[in-house]
Amino acid sequence: MPLIPKPVEEWYKEFSKQEKIWIAIALAVAIILAATTLSWPLIDPKHEVPSSAREFNPTAYKEIANNFSSIYNGKLVPPNTDIYIAAQQYFWSISTLVLKKGVDYRFHLGSLDVIHGFTIVGNGTVYSIMVMPGMEYVFTMNFKNAGTYYVICSEYCGYGHGSMRMVIEVVA
């Protein structure tokens, strides 16, 4: 007994009218979506990927980050100051960062040992970056709302993964 319910000629059946309409609609939607997606970087060129692959010296970077932390921990960082943060098992180099609302800050971020995740949570915002070791990340951030944000580690880094936290206070 053949396994085929119908003869093989089924292959050569013409598309019906409804099928053709559906194919046309699906194609049109696909083309529109593809066109908008691919033109996105042209429409919104300001979108910035937080990356910079450059020679990275963990010990030197640690010193810079600790310097920054000793000056600005818990104090307002004035505009036009670069922010240096180092991630390490299992803490961030600075525990409380105070920033001004609506100001562009340049962040420098680097991991001194394993992969960490830099995730900002709070006031309805979630934003994350994966911090690969051996690289310095440079990106600009602008907090639109005042309030308390938390930075947590979102990429598994070891036993103390859950306890890696820092606070960003955004003041008006």
Partner: protein
């Protein structure tokens, strides 16, 4: 059918020596379910720790359970369980008497069993607190031997999966009943789906194996792939090139099962049969080009991200085609609401949640928000749980075939209800948790996430109860279920014009004699079980325990050689040839000319290994040049090229001698054939000696930056393949000297020839890329600093 009820598992001899596809299939199912129970228990412990029972495990154990739960579910439960189901049903669906190589599938099973033992024994030996993605640097800086055991178990199960995949492929290509054509409308949908799965397995698992080897080399020989001058971003690329196709390896057979069950239970021919069949292949194809979407938040170029976002979203198209066709099949159908059907319907329903959340995750801005949070966990648990539903649907559907008994309809529906409630209750809170920003892999977490975690834990008890009810149902049904009235067609599909299985082509019973095509053979089980011993031998050698390590590997090689001797050189082969003149003649003739095709698929899989190694070289080099601005790396003298040119001449000339040998073989001039074959072997040995000399004199260490690491990785891999080719030729020589290499073994000689040519062709790439810096020359010509 009476053989189906033979209790092969009651006696350890028959258990170890079975090569029958149905029995191996059932073994696969049981072993995979044991893995499910262990992996599920790990998950339950994690769940208790997170909701309401804090502190029942230490962080160390918790993160080890994270690793084992993920790896066991994705590599040791779902693919084997579907392989088991395919073992049972696929040959029957296409009317094949058995799988293409019954002994090889037994080998694949026992390798899988032995790697499962290895995986769980890592809990006794040490801890592997990594997460299932095994991301370096953590997987390198943690010195625990548990990590090594886990990595080796993963490599081993990968090899086992590739072997069984090629076996299935050959079965589908070669052993079909004449009424089952290789067309979209003739081949059963499960077979189409499984074919797509096989193509993914052959391409995706070799990169994982080579990645695992790179991890082990870096852990023990201080190679520089992922740390130091290497780049930690290489591992996510290698891993997800395997990892994303892997999730389609899980889901495609589930699609196949559901496509088989729904039309028969809706009593209506499947709607859009050809579209469903084709979309399986389309999913397999697209899934090779989506892996970057796991790394949107790492420093990759935005343009690459967008390309991968588009391909990822495109996966929804073939998947959507399937879902719409299933729904269209149900329309106006006379639906039988029995257990396989409710599971299949639950598959479609819950899978839509998983699929849609997947499309959201594919959008880069959204991924920046929820990357690495519980949202991702919710997404893939809503994808893998439907897979389990489809699997249970398949097991219930084919249960009457396997046992001749019916399951308890009511009990199985209780299990279904518990599972469905449990799954929705456990994982829907995770979507909310993810949007609130709770990261995954947290042993402890801030209090604001507590209530949702508690809800999730509460519903986990439903899942546990559902699984327990399922086990009770299956065990009692096997013992005392109601016998099925019509064993040949328990669900009445034949009456609807949709029989489950095709007629079998060959009757292989020899006039009632006990000797059958599925002759019992204990060697696959012995070699398979010892494969993990060989892995441990390799591990000991990496750790400097040479004598014991070499001894363990030697035991494995002796066992392999004994198997070969028994099958191809000893008395047994005479018996097999005697038999082949009678009933097996037709089958054997088909098989002989196929060795070439099988070896070509094997070579394809090997080419993926080399492709991964070359790509890793390019990636690391680009990364190094971007960071430090020079190539070769600071403090490295490139390897001299003069000796290697002389060495290459030996290797390339051996390609001509083996081709000449082969042409004498086809002219049946066996003396000249043997002379030329041995000349080829000698040239190969000269080449290997030259390589060893180079290793000893070049003064380059594997730990000497990425240059040394990639140099030894690529040339070492190639050297390993040369040795494999030499062993292959030694076997041909042995068979020829024994007089068992008649012209009927043409495929064997052909395969050895092709394999040797492959080894030579790879060497051209090794020479160009590693020794003669071809990439650098081309880049300089284009004006790129590389």
């Amino acid at each position: 059918m009476e053989h189906e009820d033979f209790k092969f598992y009651k006696n350890w001899r028959t258990l170890l020596s079975t090569t029958r596809h149905t029995e191996i299939g059932i073994l696969y199912l049981w072993t995979a379910f044991i893995n499910l129970l262990l992996a599920g228990s790990s998950a339950a412990i994690m769940r208790l720790q997170l909701g309401g029972f804090e502190g029942i495990v230490t962080p160390d154990t918790y993160y080890t359970l994270v690793t084992l739960h993920g790896l066991a579910m994705l590599l040791f439960f779902v693919p084997p369980v579907f392989t088991g189901l395919a073992n049972y049903v696929l040959p029957k669906m296409i009317g094949a008497p058995d799988l293409y190589w019954p002994k090889i599938i037994a080998l694949a099973y026992w390798m899988f069993a032995s790697s499962s033992i290895m995986l769980w024994s890592s809990l006794l030996i040490g801890h592997a607190p990594l997460g299932w993605t095994l991301y370096p640097p953590n997987s390198i800086i943690i010195p625990d031997p548990g990590v090594d055991i886990v990595i080796m178990a993963v490599v081993l199960v990968g090899i086992s999966t590739v072997i069984s995949a090629i076996n299935f492929l050959m079965t589908i290509l070669r052993l079909r009943h004449p009424s089952v054509k290789f067309t979209l409308s003739s081949l059963p949908l499960f077979v189409w789906a499984f074919l797509a799965t096989i193509l993914l397995m052959i391409v995706a698992l070799p990169p994982l194996a080579i990645g695992g080897i790179m991890l082990l080399l870096e852990r023990h020989l201080h190679a520089d792939f992922f740390m130091g001058t290497g780049d930690a971003l290489l591992w996510p690329n290698v891993f997800w090139f395997f990892g994303h196709p892997e999730v389609y390896i899980l889901v495609l057979p589930a699609f196949g099962v559901v496509s088989e069950v729904i039309p028969r239970m809706a009593r209506r021919p499947i709607y859009g049969r050809r579209a469903i069949a084709l979309s399986s292949i389309l999913i397999a194809f697209i899934s090779y080009f989506v892996w970057i979407h796991h790394m949107f938040t790492t420093p990759t170029s935005l343009y690459i991200d967008i390309a991968f976002m588009v391909t990822t979203v495109a996966v929804a198209v073939p998947t959507g085609i399937k879902v719409f066709n299933w729904v269209a099949t149900l329309y106006k159908g006379r639906i039988r609401v029995c257990t396989p059907m409710v599971f299949s319907l639950a598959f479609v329903g819950v899978f839509i949640i998983g699929g849609i959340t997947g499309v959201w995750l594919a959008w880069i801005p959204f991924d920046y928000a929820v990357h690495g949070t519980y949202f991702v966990l919710a997404h893939f648990h809503f994808v893998v749980w439907p897979i389990v539903f489809a699997l249970l649907s398949g097991i219930y559907y084919y249960f009457p075939y396997m046992t001749g008994k019916m399951f308890h309809e009511k009990l199985s529906k209780v299990s279904f209800a518990l599972l469905l409630i449990g799954v929705l209750g456990t994982y829907l809170p995770w979507i909310e948790l993810g949007l609130m920003g709770m990261p995954r892999r947290y042993y402890e977490y801030p209090a604001e996430y507590g209530s949702l975690q508690d809800i999730s834990t509460f519903f986990t008890f439903f899942i546990v109860a559902g699984i327990l009810v399922f086990i009770v149902d299956i065990l009692t049904s096997i013992r005392s279920g109601k016998p099925v009235a019509d064993r040949e067609d328990p669900w009445g599909g034949g009456k609807l014009g949709m029989p489950d299985f095709a007629p079998v082509q060959h009757s292989l019973n020899l006039n009632g004699s006990a000797f059958q095509y599925h002759y019992p053979h204990p060697r696959p089980a012995i070699v398979g079980l010892f494969s993990s011993v060989a892995m441990i031998g390799g591990y000991l050698i990496l750790n400097g325990v040479y004598s014991l390590g070499i001894m363990l590997i030697a035991i494995f090689i002796v066992l392999l050689a004994e198997w070969f001797d028994f099958d191809y050189l000893g008395k047994f082969s005479t018996l097999a040839r005697y038999l082949s003149e009678f009933t097996l003649e037709k089958l054997e003739r088909a098989r002989r000319s196929d060795a070439l095709i099988a070896v070509l698929w094997f070579i394809f899989s090997e080419a993926m290994i080399f492709g991964t190694a070359f790509t890793a070289y390019m990636f690391l080099r680009a990364s190094y040049v971007a960071r430090f601005g020079t190539w070769p790396p600071i403090g490295v003298t490139p390897v001299e090229t003069t000796p290697v040119i002389i060495n290459s001449i030996f290797l390339f000339s051996s390609s001509f001698t083996i081709q000449l040998a082969y042409s004498y073989y086809t002219k049946k001039d066996y003396t000249k054939f043997l002379v030329l074959l041995n000349l080829t072997t000698i040239l190969g040995i000269i080449f290997i000696t030259g390589q060893i000399r180079e290793y000893l004199t070049s003064g380059l260490a594997i730990s000497n930056t990425i240059y040394g690491s990639t140099f030894y990785l690529i040339t070492g891999l190639h050297g390993f393949h040369v040795i494999m080719g030499l062993i292959f030729m030694a076997l041909v020589t042995a068979a020829a000297l024994k007089g068992t290499l008649g012209f009927e073994r043409k495929g064997f000689v052909e395969a050895a020839t092709i394999y040797w040519h492959f080894v030579d062709i790879v060497w051209i790439f090794v020479l160009a890329i590693v020794y003669f810096n071809l990439a650098g020359i081309i880049a300089a010509y284009c004006g790129i600093h590389f």
